[in-house]
Amino acid sequence: MSTASTHAPLLDAEFLHKLEQLELVSRKIFVGRMKGERKSKRRGSSVEFADHRNYTSGDDLRHIDWNVYGRLDKLFLKLFLEEEDLHFYTLLDTSLSMDFGEPTKLQYGKQVAAALSFIGLVNHDRVMMDAFSTALDRGMPSVRGRSQMYRVVGYLDSLQASGQSDLTAAAKAFAIKHSGKGIVVVISDFLDKRGYQDALRYLLARNLDIYVVHVLSKEEVEPELTGDLKLVDAEDDDIAEITISAPLLKRYKDNLNAFVGGLKQWCTKRGITYIFTTNHNPFDKLILNYLRERGLVK
C-alpha cells in the first residue's frame, strides 16, 4: 500500500508555511518563558556572562577577569551561564507497517518529526534523529540551529519503509547509543506483536523525558473492508482469514480501543506523555497538542 506520498518531498510549500507558523508560535512562547528555564548547573565556557566570584585556588586561570584585576587589584573569576543543551531525540518507526494509509503513517511521522525538530532547532536544542525497523539505524548526528534544518529534512527524506518493526531491540540500542538526558519522542504505530512495554522501559531507565506519538491510519481505526478476506500482514506475511460482519467489526474496534487505551494507560502510569493520532489529523494540530502536553501552551 505504498503510495506516492511516501516519496513526496517533505518540504513542500504548505509544510514550510505551517512550520513557519509553528516557529512564530514557539518563539512567542519561548521568549517569555525560556529565561532560566534550563539554566545549567554548571557555569562554564559559555559566551553569556553571568556573574563574578572570588578567585579561589585551583580555579582555572583562564576565567580570571583581568580587567577587574587591573582596576581593583583583586582576582575575580568571570562566571558564564552554562548553556546546557536540550537533547531532543526523535525515534521514528520505519517498519513496513508504517507504510499504510493516505498519507502513509510514515510520511505523517516524518512530518511530525520534522516539525518537532524544527521547533527544537529554532530553540537551539540539540536535535538528534533515529529511525528503526528491524534494528536501529545509523541515525542523524546531532544538529543545532535553524540552519541545520536541511539536514533534518534530508535525513527524513532518505528514510524508506522496510522490514519488521522490533521496537524493543531498537529502544535498547537507542538507550545504549544516547547517554544524554533529554526528550525522546517515539513515533510509531506500536503494531508490534512483541509488545511495547519492554521498549518503553528501556527508555524510562535512561531517565528520558518520553513522548509517545501513536500514529494509526484511518483504515485501521475504521476499517472499510467487506466480504470474505484473507488479510496478509505486511511485515511477517501472517494470514488471517476473516469474513467481515458486524460483530467482527465491533470486536475489532473493541480490541483497537483496548489496545490504544492499554498503551495510554501504561504510558500515563509511568509518566510518559501519550499522544494518539491518526494520519488524517493535521500534524500542526498535533504539534500544538505536543506543546500543550509539555506545558508550553496553555
Binding site: 500500500m1 513496513l96 507497517s97 508504517m98 507504510d99 499504510f100 503513517k105 504505530d189 503494531l191 506483536k193 491510519s217 483504515e219 485501521e220 473492508l225 467487506t226 466480504g227 470474505d228 478476506l229 484473507k230 488479510l231 496478509v232 500482514d233 505486511a234 511485515e235 501472517d238 494470514i239 488471517a240 482469514e241 476473516i242 469474513t243 467481515i244 460482519s245 458486524a246 460483530p247 467482527l248 467489526l249 470486536r251 475489532y252 473493541d254 480490541n255 483497537l256 489496545f259
Partner: protein, 706 residues
C-alpha cells in the same frame, strides 16, 4: 407426478406444471448439497494487505469462543442462498393450485337465467348464487385470461364478449336479471360453440366430417351455472370446449343412490314447489251458457300438501287491478303427485281469469296461472266465386269461425274491394275457379286455378288424376282421411316453386300444395269443385271437405277457437291479430302500467315481443277494441326445482352416467361449486427468491447480522 409432489399435494391442492422424475429431483436436490459443499470447501477469499493482523487476530480469537453458534450465524448467507435455491427449484417445478397451463386461459361462463333460477331455496335466489359463484371464477382470473359470459334461458345472449377486464365482467355479470323463460342449454351451447373459438369457424368448414378443428390456443373452459332444468343436449358438438356444470341448488337436494336390485333410483329428489302446470277454459258441452276452467297442479314436495286454488276474475277495463274472487277449491295433493281441478262459470262474455294457489314455496312464479276466455276472433274471409253452393254452404257451417264476404269476380274488381284486399282487411281470400290479376295482401286459397305470378306461368293439365297420397301431418290436412275415395276429373298442376309443400299427390303429380308468398301462404287445390254446372270432383260431398275448410280457416284465416287461448310462454313473441286495419296496437302489461306500441308487420299481424313475464296482457286498438292474452310458464321442468346433474357418492361409472348431464357427446358430472381457477404459483416463489437474494445482498454489504 413425483412422490414429493404427490405428498405435498396431499396437504394442499398443489400440482406441478413440470412434474419431475425421481432422478430429476435427485439432481435438483444436489444443488443445495453442492452449495453447502462449496461453503465447507475453501472459501475463495480476497487477499488484502494490512499493516498488521495483530488486532484482527485478537478479534477472531474472541469470535471463536462460542464457535458453533457463531458458525451458524456466520452462515446466515449460506442459509439464505439455500432458501433462494429451494424457492427457485420450487418455482421451476411450476406449482399451481388446480389447473394446467401457463398460457392464457379462456373461460366461458354460462349463467342460467331461466324461471327456475328465481327459486329462493338458495338464499337469496339461485340466480344470485350462480352469479356469486361466477364472480369467484372472475376473481380467480389471471391477468391475461379471457372470459366470456353468456346468459341463457330458452335463448342465449352474450352478456360479455371475451375480455380480461374483470371490472367489466363483474358489471356485466351483475346486469343479469332473472327471466321467466324456460331453459334450453342447446341454445346456449350453439352460441358458445360458435363464439368460443372464433378462429376455428372458418377452418372447421374445410375439414372433413368428424374432424373437429382445434384451436392452437387452450381449450376454452365452459362453466355452466344452472340447476339442470333442461333436457340433455345430445348430438351437438361443442368443439374443444371443456364443459363443467356447476349445479346451483339447495345443499340437501342430492339424488338418492340406487338401492341394490333397483336399476335406477328416482333421479329427481323432492323440491319445495307446488306449481300449476296447465290451465285452460272451454265451453261446457252440455250447458252452452256455462264454461269450465280446468287445470292441473303438481306437488313436488316430499310430503303431501293441502292448499286452495282460488279463481280470480280480472276486469279487462281495469288492467293491473286485484280482481274479484269468484270461487275456491281446496286441494290435497300427495307427495310428488298431480291433481286436477275444475271450476264452472257462467258465461258473462269476455273473462280474464287467474288461478292462484294459496301456498308458500320456493318458486312463487308458478303458483299463478292465467287464461282468457271468450275472445273469439273470426277469420275475415273473402270468397270470390261465380256461384258454388257447396262451398258457400260448407263455409256457412263454420260461421262461428269466420265472417265470409262473398262476391263475384266482377264485383271483386271494384276499386274499394281492391283497396280492402290490398290493405290486409281480409285474412283469407278464396278464389274459386277465378284467377286474380294480382295476389291479395292476405293468405289465399285457390280452387282449380294457379295463383298469379311467374312461378305459375306454366300450368299442366292432368286428366283424371288418381289421388295417391296426402300429407296428413300438414295442419290443413288434419283429420282428412277419406281422400282415397275422392274422384277428380280434371286438375291443373305445375312445377312447384321452392318452399312449397305438397298436400295431395296424384298420379299426375301434385294436385294440391301450399306455397309461401312474401309472408303469406297460397294454398292451391288444383281441381275446381264444379265444372260449370257439373261436378269436377266429388270431394264436396265427402265429410273431409268441411274439415279441410275448417283446418284452412284455422291455419290461414288466423281464426281461433272461442274456447281456448293459445299458450304463450314468457319471452316468446306473441302474434296479435287485430281485427281492424289499425296500424298500431297498444299492449298493456300485467301490471297495468307498462304500455308498448306494436306496429303492424307486413304480414298484417302485430308481433309483440314484450311478453317477458307471466300474466294477463291486453292489446288495445282503434276506438274501443281490445283483446287479451295470457302468458303462462306451464313448464314442468322449470317448476321442478330439484337440481339435476349431481351424482351420489359410491356409484359405478355406468350408474353414475345416468345422473350426469349430457352436453354434446360427453356426460358431465355436476359439481357443487366451480373448481378453483387455475393459479400458477411459480411467480410468487420467484419474487420471494429475488427478495431473499436482495436481503442477502443487503446483509452482505451492510454487514447487518442478526
Amino acid at each position: 407426478m413425483s412422490r414429493f409432489g404427490s405428498s405435498l399435494s396431499g396437504l394442499v391442492p398443489v400440482t406441478f406444471a413440470n412434474p419431475l422424475s425421481a432422478v430429476q429431483w435427485a439432481v435438483l436436490a444436489g444443488v443445495p448439497v453442492g452449495i453447502i459443499a462449496l461453503y465447507f470447501l475453501k472459501l475463495r477469499r480476497r487477499p488484502v494487505q494490512v499493516a498488521s493482523t495483530l488486532l484482527w487476530r485478537r478479534s477472531l480469537e474472541d469470535l471463536h469462543v462460542n464457535s458453533l453458534f457463531q458458525r451458524l450465524r456466520k452462515n446466515l448467507l449460506l442459509f439464505l442462498q439455500l432458501l433462494a435455491v429451494l424457492l427457485a427449484m420450487f418455482a421451476l417445478s411450476g406449482p399451481r393450485i388446480k389447473g394446467s397451463s401457463t398460457q392464457a386461459n379462456r373461460f366461458i361462463l354460462a349463467i342460467d337465467e331461466s324461471a327456475s333460477m328465481a327459486a329462493t331455496d338458495v338464499a337469496p335466489t339461485r340466480l344470485e348464487k350462480a352469479k356469486s359463484e361466477a364472480e369467484k371464477v372472475i376473481a380467480n382470473m389471471e391477468k391475461n385470461d379471457l372470459m366470456m359470459i353468456v346468459a341463457f334461458s330458452d335463448r342465449a345472449r352474450v352478456v360479455s364478449n371475451y375480455t380480461s377486464n374483470q371490472d367489466l365482467l363483474r358489471r356485466r355479470l351483475s346486469s343479469i336479471k332473472p327471466t321467466q323463460n324456460t331453459t334450453s342449454l342447446r341454445e346456449a351451447l350453439q352460441v358458445i360453440a360458435g363464439l368460443a373459438n372464433p378462429s376455428t369457424d372458418r377452418t372447421a368448414r374445410d375439414l372433413p366430417e368428424g374432424v373437429i378443428a382445434v384451436n392452437s390456443a387452450m381449450a376454452p373452459k365452459l362453466s355452466v351455472f344452472t340447476d339442470g332444468g333442461f333436457p340433455d343436449v345430445e348430438g351437438l358438438s361443442i368443439g374443444n370446449v371443456e364443459p363443467e356444470v356447476v349445479v346451483i341448488g339447495p345443499a340437501s337436494a342430492m339424488p338418492d343412490a340406487p338401492k341394490p336390485g333397483e336399476p335406477k333410483a328416482k333421479k329427481t329428489p323432492p323440491s319445495d314447489n307446488v306449481a300449476i302446470l296447465a290451465l285452460s277454459a272451454s265451453r261446457d258441452e252440455e250447458k252452452p251458457d256455462q264454461f269450465q276452467v280446468f287445470g292441473r297442479v303438481r306437488n313436488y314436495r316430499e310430503e303431501s300438501v293441502k292448499t286452495e286454488a282460488r279463481l280470480i276474475r280480472h276486469d279487462p277495463k281495469k288492467p293491473g287491478s286485484a280482481g274479484t274472487l269468484l270461487d275456491a277449491i281446496a286441494l290435497s295433493i300427495g307427495p310428488q303427485a298431480e291433481q286436477s281441478f275444475k271450476f264452472d262459470l257462467n258465461d258473462n262474455g269476455l273473462a280474464e281469469l287467474e288461478v292462484r294457489l294459496d301456498v308458500k314455496d320456493s318458486l312463487p312464479l308458478d303458483n299463478r296461472a292465467f287464461t282468457v276466455f271468450g275472445t273469439p276472433r273470426k277469420a275475415q274471409v273473402l270468397l270470390v266465386t261465380l256461384r258454388n253452393r257447396y262451398l258457400t254452404d260448407s263455409l256457412k257451417t263454420l260461421s262461428d269461425l269466420s265472417d265470409v264476404t262473398q262476391m263475384t269476380p266482377e264485383e271483386a274488381k271494384a276499386t274499394d274491394v281492391k283497396r280492402d284486399v290490398g290493405s290486409g282487411k281480409y285474412d283469407l281470400v278464396i278464389y274459386d275457379g277465378v284467377r286474380p290479376d294480382a295476389a291479395p295482401e292476405a293468405n289465399a286459397l285457390y280452387f282449380g286455378v294457379l295463383p298469379p305470378g311467374k312461378a305459375f306461368e306454366k300450368p299442366k293439365v292432368v286428366d283424371g288424376p288418381v289421388i295417391l297420397d296426402w300429407d296428413v301431418a300438414h295442419p290443413m290436412m288434419q283429420y282428412v282421411r277419406d281422400l282415397n275415395t275422392v274422384l277428380v276429373q280434371k286438375a291443373v298442376t305445375c312445377e312447384l316453386p321452392s318452399g312449397s309443400a305438397t298436400l295431395i299427390e296424384s298420379s299426375g303429380g301434385p294436385i294440391a300444395f301450399v306455397a309461401p308468398r312474401m309472408g303469406f301462404v297460397d294454398a292451391v287445390i288444383g281441381f275446381a269443385l264444379m265444372d260449370g254446372a257439373k261436378f269436377n270432383t266429388n270431394w264436396q260431398l265427402k265429410s273431409s271437405f268441411p274439415l279441410f275448410l275448417y283446418n284452412t280457416l284455422r291455419a290461414l284465416g288466423n281464426a281461433r277457437e272461442s274456447s281456448g287461448t293459445e299458450a304463450h310462454l314468457p319471452g316468446m313473441p306473441v302474434v296479435l291479430r287485430a281485427d281492424s286495419s289499425a296500424t298500431e296496437v297498444e299492449v298493456i302489461g300485467p301490471d297495468g302500467k307498462s304500455v308498448e306500441t306494436v306496429k303492424r308487420s307486413p304480414q298484417g299481424t302485430f308481433l309483440f315481443n314484450g311478453a317477458r313475464s307471466t300474466g294477463l296482457y291486453r292489446a288495445r286498438w282503434g276506438k274501443d277494441e281490445s283483446m287479451s292474452f295470457a302468458v303462462n310458464l306451464f313448464d314442468g321442468r322449470e317448476s321442478d326445482l330439484s337440481p339435476r346433474g349431481l351424482v351420489p357418492e359410491g356409484l359405478s361409472e355406468s350408474q353414475a352416467d345416468s345422473y350426469k348431464i349430457k352436453i354434446g357427446f360427453n356426460a358431465v358430472k355436476g359439481t357443487r361449486r366451480t373448481a378453483p381457477a387455475i393459479k400458477d404459483y411459480w411467480w410468487p416463489l420467484a419474487v420471494g427468491m429475488l427478495g431473499i437474494i436482495l436481503l442477502e445482498w443487503y446483509i452482505y454489504n451492510r454487514r447487518v447480522y442478526v
